[in-house]
Point group: none
Chain length 194, copies 4
DNA sequence: AATGAATGAGCCTTCATTCAT
DNA sequence: TATGAATGAAGGCTCATTCAT
């Protein structure tokens, strides 16, 4: 019964997402998951044999949900670049703010852990993908005259590092929404009017 | 004998610094420290009763060493602001690059952990202190006409978030020195010629 | 449908025989059996509710197959005792050699286990049966003058213990066919020319 | 304190010997040992990190105790070969009889386990050593005319396989001392008067 | 001060067995 | 009959922390 299995799997992923959001990566034990899911120890092992395996599925699932309904190609055609940049920044802001409710901490911790073990993590590709998208927006905006942007590539990278810094900072201590907004606005002023 | 005690304490801190630099925060056990110090389990407990307590001392010690010989006041008087900004950035670059040899990962992990436990970490104050210093440099440079900088405060904050992002990224995956330099140069171009 | 049931039962026994031959007794889990049979966990329990129950059937089945086509009574009448002793020894040699392909290890393990639990195992009766057969051969051979054998009973017992020792040794470590043959010949020389 | 450590180690070995003698090899868990020793789980791990490691020490210890006071060289010079063979056989008989009180079962089980894992066990060397000793006795006895023995090597091997068989049989089911004695006498009659 | 053996809680993992379908 | 998901007990292992010496 692949259907039943899949829905159970999804159920576990959902519960585990809550756990990883609240406790990060390293602190999560199979016991935590088991308790959150209200299933037996052995039961969990039928689906996932380590927190790592489960975490990877949790992240994959989160990514799928994020990009959710959006069809980037269509958006590029139908919206102004300014609107898209604003949309992009808002999406990032959600994650920055999402403390205790997002996977930011767990993802950082996992990336650190992978680095130490010389394993590949998804951190780099996630960063690169987002940077690419932003770069595309900037390029189109520059071409159409909407933006004033000499080097879309550098600017995109710079913005993403700043956003990464905001995520890390917000995951490390209390960071007021006001300060976050100020930074996001500062970034956008580089090439457009806000 | 407070002297003897202090030198032993310093000895432990030095060894522990190596351990935390290599393994981060969460992965470090008392056993790791004990082995690195080549002292007895009980012996360590005479000085530190948890990894956390020890880690706090490790960080404090590292900060003291960094600001090391420098007398900021004197530097402000004797050097050009351009030189000082370059020096500041270079110091930051050292940390960004220092993978396996710096406390960056451990400090992030500790900050995350504190956040989850609603404890104060030193992360915020460290960030704020550095931002203040940078802001001062920018202000003075602007006043003297060396820099073209409208809002030193915002610019300083922006730069520090970007640097934080670079630290986090470099701690998460391989980040070439070239890319780091490109970003640092990009940041500085905002207000000065490089 | 007892027929269908029986054929399924036989199917399970055949697969289980392979498993017990390869892994001995103690190491075999229900999972091993289930996988070898490619049936469901629950399915297996319909036929056997423990590895022990199954193992007993496996052994019974193996014994039936061994004595297989042979009609001992008929053989006693039609063959010389020398030929029969040689045949008997050859049968035993097969088992001695059959590492990974025979139930020797599993049978020993099961016997040890039974002993510890004060349960009856089939080990003794198997030994006694074989000894009886051998004794009969020796007696007839002695009567007919084929063999020179004072005490067929003792000789038969001695041979069986030696054979048991060879089985145990071959199950414990690599024992060359040459050495085995040497021993078997030595035994037979006690009462006949080889 | 190597002294204290060693005596604790010896204490564990002694208790573990009882456990392995009673339960064989496969059935013994770290918990069994821990309970027999009345120490903590973690405590045992300070000395042995697996039942296998411990078992190897148990066997080594048992061998040392067996050969105990005896100086084989001296015995060869001072005793008649008949006496020595009788002594040798008596030693073997002790082990054969020692059910629940000897390591015979555990040693067999361990040998089977090693064979399956393609690991070296001590079984072969133990057998070979004993065979060599017996062979020497037979040779000397033959030279001195005490024994009538054509091929000491074959005879020694044959006797050892028979003894192995007796050990395995006695470990598998109830074997009366009378039967054991009968066999041992039968073996000795091959070359000497009993 | 210093040692390091000892403790025991806690996490990981496997497996026989059950049960709703 | 047959399935296979689910359970929970049992065993393995590690680690922070204590304590007698």
């Amino acid at each position: 019964m692949s259907d039943k299995t899949d829905s159970k799997r999804q159920y576990i992923i959902d519960k585990a997402t809550e756990v990883f959001s609240k406790k990060g990566y390293k602190n999560v034990t199979m016991k935590d998951i088991v308790e959150a899911c209200e299933i037996s120890r052995g039961g969990l092992y039928l689906y996932y044999s380590s927190t790592e395996e489960l975490f990877l599925d949790v992240v994959k699932n989160a990514e799928e949900k994020e990009s959710g309904g959006r069809d980037i190609g269509k958006m590029l055609d139908e919206s102004s670049m300014s609107d898209l940049v604003v949309w992009f920044i808002k999406e990032q802001k959600k994650e920055i703010l999402g403390r205790g409710n997002s996977l930011v901490v767990a993802k950082f911790e996992y990336a650190f852990y992978c680095r130490q073990e010389d394993k590949e993590s998804m951190a780099k590709s996630e960063f690169d993908t987002a940077t690419k998208v932003l770069q595309t927006l900037l390029e189109r905006g520059a071409q159409s005259g909407e933006f004033e942007c000499m080097s879309p590539k550098s600017t995109a990278a710079n913005m993403m590092y700043t956003i990464t810094g905001l995520k890390a900072a917000a995951a490390s201590y209390n960071l007021s929404e006001k300060k976050i907004d100020a930074q996001l606005v500062y970034m956008m002023r580089q090439f457009m009017d806000v």
